[in-house]
């Protein structure tokens, strides 16, 4: 490799450009799909693009797994003046989750979208899907605070469109999309106000540079206001209880493929942004001094775990129940953050991933049931587990992982979370975590009961879902089991990410040394 500062001007090999390709590939696929305007080409292009993203994300994840990071300078302009893409253990992990979910959901989407969305919208649908992937990946990969806002809006705007596509089955998808648009825009605007305050104080937009300049600014009222705006703004995107009101309707009425993708990635990317700002930009010390974790995020997380789980128990619709369960699971992730320890953050990162794959299985199950039963109310999916054995079994695996039964991915994240509680001698918290998992047993059992212990509804089509839907579902289901048994990969990656985050801006070092470190990374 060339000398440190010149690497990015002289980066000639393809591997040097992986961070930007990660964004560019889906970003360019979207207009190409529209340009060709061919229904038969749209899906293959979208699929190849997601597959390439996955390959890139995997390469990036492997190359930063030792705790190092890659800094990519856009257009050769060195940060803090230029925009920087920065890949480290924490965001490579989330990138991998997004790319993997997109790749798994794509084959599923082919049949599901054909069933749920009118033909004339297909090309535009896949174009929007690609933009959504671009936005989410951009939010995660960028090291520039304003860039986060721009990508956030790219992903949000495409998400509103994707959600509204459910209107051909149920017109409430339109109002769900509208409500999401209003709340999402308020959230994003709050976030951009926060960025404005930070820029006012520091005069920079580069996150690492910002972190350096914010050192010792803990008493500054502007910085505190910025922190509040950013946490509330992103809290809306995360659907952090009680800012979750858009989520149940949006997940329930969106097309199944969209719900699967969003549930597994969108809220996760937002959680990543909150963590990144809390621990890297604002520094752990600052966050600790504001007491927000103990007095606001922690209690709200606990409330989410119980309130949302209780609401989930009383639902009559499988899809809606899963939406409420998502809010509860986000509670676990925020609880990990609120514990303010490396183990707690590890739990958050692990749960982020594990819950992603778990919800992917379950929502794909919902999509398959939707195809055969027409709707997912419990009385209509009754007995479908018997006539759709593969789908039924995958849903059971997903359900077990949601509860956190040993041997599934969900167990690992809850185990780490309980460990984090014990580390701080919070034995009552460990009991609370277990108690709320027991609520999950109830709502998962209601589904299993409906699927297996009742007679099939006469109106449903008594046939297994097509292979193209079952196969991705099982890929995700097997991932749930695999990551529940072999925890090395996931725990190591999450622990590295958490250590980097807890180290504050030390994990992001100064700009001058960043380039040098990046050079050795290659």
């Amino acid at each position: 490799m060339a000398t440190a500062t010149e690497v990015h001007h002289t980066a000639l090999t393809l591997t040097d450009h992986l961070p930007i390709l990660q964004i560019l590939i889906p970003f360019c696929t979207a207009p190409l799909i529209v340009f060709f305007g061919s229904r038969s080409l749209a899906w293959p292009m979208a699929f190849i693009s997601s597959l390439l993203s996955l390959i890139i994300a995997t390469t990036l994840l492997v190359s930063v797994s030792d705790g190092s990071y890659i800094s990519y300078h856009l257009g050769g302009w060195a940060p803090p003046v230029g925009i920087e893409y920065r890949v480290d253990a924490a965001n490579a992990f989330v990138l991998f989750l997004i790319a993997a979910t997109a790749t798994v959901v794509m084959p599923f989407a082919l049949k599901s979208v054909a069933h749920e969305i009118p033909k004339r919208n297909h090309t535009l649908f896949y174009a929007c899907f690609m933009l959504c992937i671009t936005g989410l990946m951009g939010v995660v990969i960028t090291g520039d605070a304003f860039n986060v806002f721009v990508f956030l809006e790219i992903s949000s705007l495409s998400t509103y469109v994707l959600v509204s596509q459910g209107s051909h089955r149920d017109k409430r998808a339109l109002t769900a999309a509208y409500d999401y648009l209003i709340m999402g825009t308020i959230g994003a605007t709050f976030f951009v106000i926060g960025i404005g305050f930070l820029y006012m104080t520091t005069g920079t937009l580069n996150m690492a540079d910002m972190a350096d300049r914010l050192q010792g600014q803990g008493d500054n009222r502007t910085v505190q206001a910025a922190f509040a705006f950013i946490v509330v703004g992103m809290g809306l995107k995360v659907a952090m209880y009680p800012l979750h009101l858009w989520l149940p309707a949006a997940y329930n009425y969106a097309p199944s493929a969209v719900t699967t993708f969003l549930a597994a990635t969108a809220t996760k990317a937002a959680i990543y942004v909150i963590i990144r700002f809390m621990f890297t930009v604002f520094q752990p010390d600052f966050v600790f001094d504001t007491h927000i974790l103990i007095w606001i995020i922690g209690p709200l997380a606990l409330l989410a775990m119980f309130a949302a789980s209780l609401i989930a128990i009383f639902q009559t619709n499988f899809k809606r129940m899963l939406a409420y369960s998502s809010i509860a699971q986000i509670g676990y992730m925020m609880l990990g953050v609120a514990m303010f320890s490396t183990t707690g953050l590890t739990a958050t990162m692990v749960h982020l991933f594990n819950h992603g794959i778990t919800k992917a299985v379950l929502f794909m199950g919902v999509g398959a049931l939707m195809l055969r039963a027409g709707t997912t109310f419990y009385d209509r999916i009754a007995g479908m587990g018997r006539v759709m054995p593969l789908t039924g079994a995958a849903i059971v695996i997903g359900g077990l992982s949601l509860i956190g039964v040993p041997g599934t991915a969900g167990f690992i994240s809850k185990w780490v979370l309980v460990q984090a509680a014990f580390e701080q001698d919070l034995w009552w918290l460990a009991l609370i975590i277990v108690a709320s998992s027991l609520l999950a047993v109830i709502y998962v059992w209601r589904v299993v009961e409906a699927l297996y212990l009742q007679e099939p509804h006469p109106d449903a089509i008594h046939k297994e879902a097509p292979m193209l839907m079952v196969a991705p579902m099982w890929v995700a289901a097997i991932a749930c089991l695999y990551f529940g048994l072999d925890t090395r990969f996931i725990l190591d990656a999450a622990a590295t990410a958490a250590e980097g985050l807890m180290a504050g801006s030390a994990g992001m070092a100064e700009i001058s040394t960043a380039a040098a470190a990046a050079a050795t990374d290659h």
Partner: protein, 145 residues
């Protein structure tokens, strides 16, 4: 708080007033179009905040002066305003337009389906739909819903 302080920060006071006006409209109005208008005011207020940040006391427009031949003549004595917030806001304006147009497009579709753009009417229709669903699926489940 002196008068000087108040007048010196007049942009920021206006930003707060405009922002809260927009926010209030979004929350209080039931008409979907009015909500979008409120949202727009809310976003525009933020543009004002950013542009205020860019102001440097005594600063002029950030354009290098040229001599008679049209060559750029860099003069280190001139104080320039910060152009970066303006550039950021250009992006934010584009985002704002996209949001507004998407919101309005959704309203058109909502009007087609519900024949109303008033939140009260729509909530009533949706409540009736939810009630019908509960009736159908709840009773099928033996009233356990």
């Amino acid at each position: 708080m002196t008068l000087e302080f108040f007048l010196g920060h007049v942009n920021y006071w206006l930003f707060i007033i405009l922002m809260m006006t927009g926010f209030y409209i979004v929350v209080s109005r039931g008409n979907y179009v009015k909500k979008i208008v409120g949202l727009n005011i809310f976003q525009v207020a933020v543009f004002m905040l950013y542009i205020s940040i860019g102001k440097v006391t005594g600063g002029t427009a950030p354009i290098f002066p040229t001599d008679s031949q049209g060559k750029i003549k860099v003069d280190p004595d001139i104080v320039y305003s910060n152009p970066l917030p303006h550039v950021l806001i250009l992006t934010a304006i584009v985002v704002g337009i996209a949001t507004t147009s998407l919101g309005l497009a959704l309203i058109v579709r909502i009007r087609e389906e519900y024949n109303s753009i008033e939140e009260d009417d729509i909530l009533e229709i949706e409540a009736a739909m939810a009630h019908a669903e509960n009736e159908e699926h709840g009773s099928a489940m033996g009233g356990r819903a």
